[in-house]
């Protein structure tokens, strides 16, 4: 599911509330039917700015997300390697973030989030720091990962300001209005996959969402 809306509509704030990082001014978030706990261990986040520790290697950055779970070191190590491989970073286990391209840094962020085996993966504009070609390649790789039933999570919630990106990736799109942000539409994107951004049906969905926001 993607959340789209103009700047200031509260997309990222909504994601932070769902993550348990911020409190809502009113209302409540329920996760699996229960009130949301702060730092919900079944929810993981991929950040726009990668949020990697430069003094740690790729493997150490991925393992960091597992430390709070008190797994033995060998379990953390095995899980980290499994998800480093899943995101296509085998070979870079001992590399430092400075040695990685932007796309690879975001893969580390993704591996770190997947390693805690979340039910819900939240992504806050994960491609907006990347050049357009890297972003396109990474979007397709993430679609490959999402289609793998052996990998977590059960659902992915992504915030983006790119309507094309939302239509390309999502089964459902939540459209937020300008400030104060309210939900103006929930759309089910029924385009077959793989989707082609050059096809008229694709443009049709993009136009419809633009019309709802502007």
């Amino acid at each position: 599911m993607c959340i789209v809306g103009p700047s200031g509509s509260g997309k990222s704030t909504l994601l932070r509330i769902i993550m348990g990082l911020d409190k809502p001014t009113s209302g409540a978030v329920r996760f699996e039917g229960e009130p949301l706990l702060p730092d919900n261990p079944q929810v993981a986040m991929v950040f726009q700015s990668f949020a990697l520790f430069p003094w740690l290697t790729v493997e150490q950055n991925v393992e960091l997300g597992l430390e709070a779970r008190h797994d033995p070191p060998e379990v953390r190590h095995a899980k980290a390697l499994k998800f480093i491989e899943a995101v296509g970073l085998s070979g870079f286990e001992n590399a430092y973030p400075r040695e990685l391209s932007g796309g690879m840094k975001q893969r580390v962020g993704l591996a770190r989030a997947l390693a805690i085996e979340p039910l819900l993966l939240c992504m806050d504009e994960p491609f907006s720091s990347l050049d357009a070609l890297t972003a396109q390649s990474l979007r397709d790789e993430i679609l490959l990962l999402w289609s793998d039933p052996n990998l977590p999570p059960r659902a992915v919630l992504m915030v983006t300001h790119s309507i094309e990106e939302a239509v390309y990736l999502a089964d459902r799109v939540i459209v937020l209005s300008p400030r104060p942000g309210t939900i103006v539409a929930e759309l089910e994107i029924d385009l077959p996959r793989p989707r082609n951004r050059k096809e008229p049906e694709f443009f049709g969905w993009v136009d419809e969402i633009y019309a709802l926001i502007v």
Partner: protein, 166 residues
């Protein structure tokens, strides 16, 4: 030196370019793709050159055309893509040279040894660029392993995990 065309780009950018051409029907003007992805010639030029060097596109009169290999890469999963890239890279002179150097030494070789050897042929500045490219593409394709702390480079058996970083 054969590797120069891929020293400044990432494999993601190369695959992204192939995807953009694929979406345009398998053939597209460089100018059109550059405008779509908002990259000027200085940025997209090296990616086009690297894609052509790796055999993923053919460039004719400003037009990019996907190759059969490119279609295979786009259909492949991440692991298969690495394998395809490995097949391309392992026969390049720079990688062959490096592999022979490590095999001949019978031990991991240091960054300094490799850079000093390249510097004799290409100058210090280019030697550094080449080394970084060898490490990046070699790690990605799992042809080589490089430990950034010890600065030692060794050959890697693809699919076999590296020892822990701790």
């Amino acid at each position: 030196m054969d590797l120069h065309s891929i020293t400044k780009v990432s494999f993601s950018q190369v695959v992204g370019l192939a995807e953009a051409v694929d979406e345009a029907g398998g053939q597209a003007d460089v100018a059109r793709i550059a405008a779509e992805v908002e990259m000027d010639l200085d940025r997209i030029g090296p990616i086009v050159a690297a894609s052509e060097f790796l055999g993923l596109v053919v460039v004719e009169g400003g037009t990019l055309r996907l190759t059969e290999l490119s279609h295979k890469v786009l259909k492949a999963g991440l692991r298969e893509r690495k394998k395809m890239l490995r097949e391309i890279l392992k026969d390049l002179p720079a990688f062959r040279y490096l592999i022979q150097m490590v095999e001949g030494a019978g031990r991991p070789v240091s960054r300094k040894e490799v850079v000093d050897t390249f510097a004799l042929h290409f100058g210090t500045y280019q030697a550094d660029d080449l080394f970084r490219a060898l490490v990046y593409w070699g790690r990605y394709s799992e042809l080589i392993a490089y430990d950034s702390r010890s600065e030692l480079l060794s050959l890697r058996v693809p699919g076999v995990r590296l020892p822990s970083a701790h």
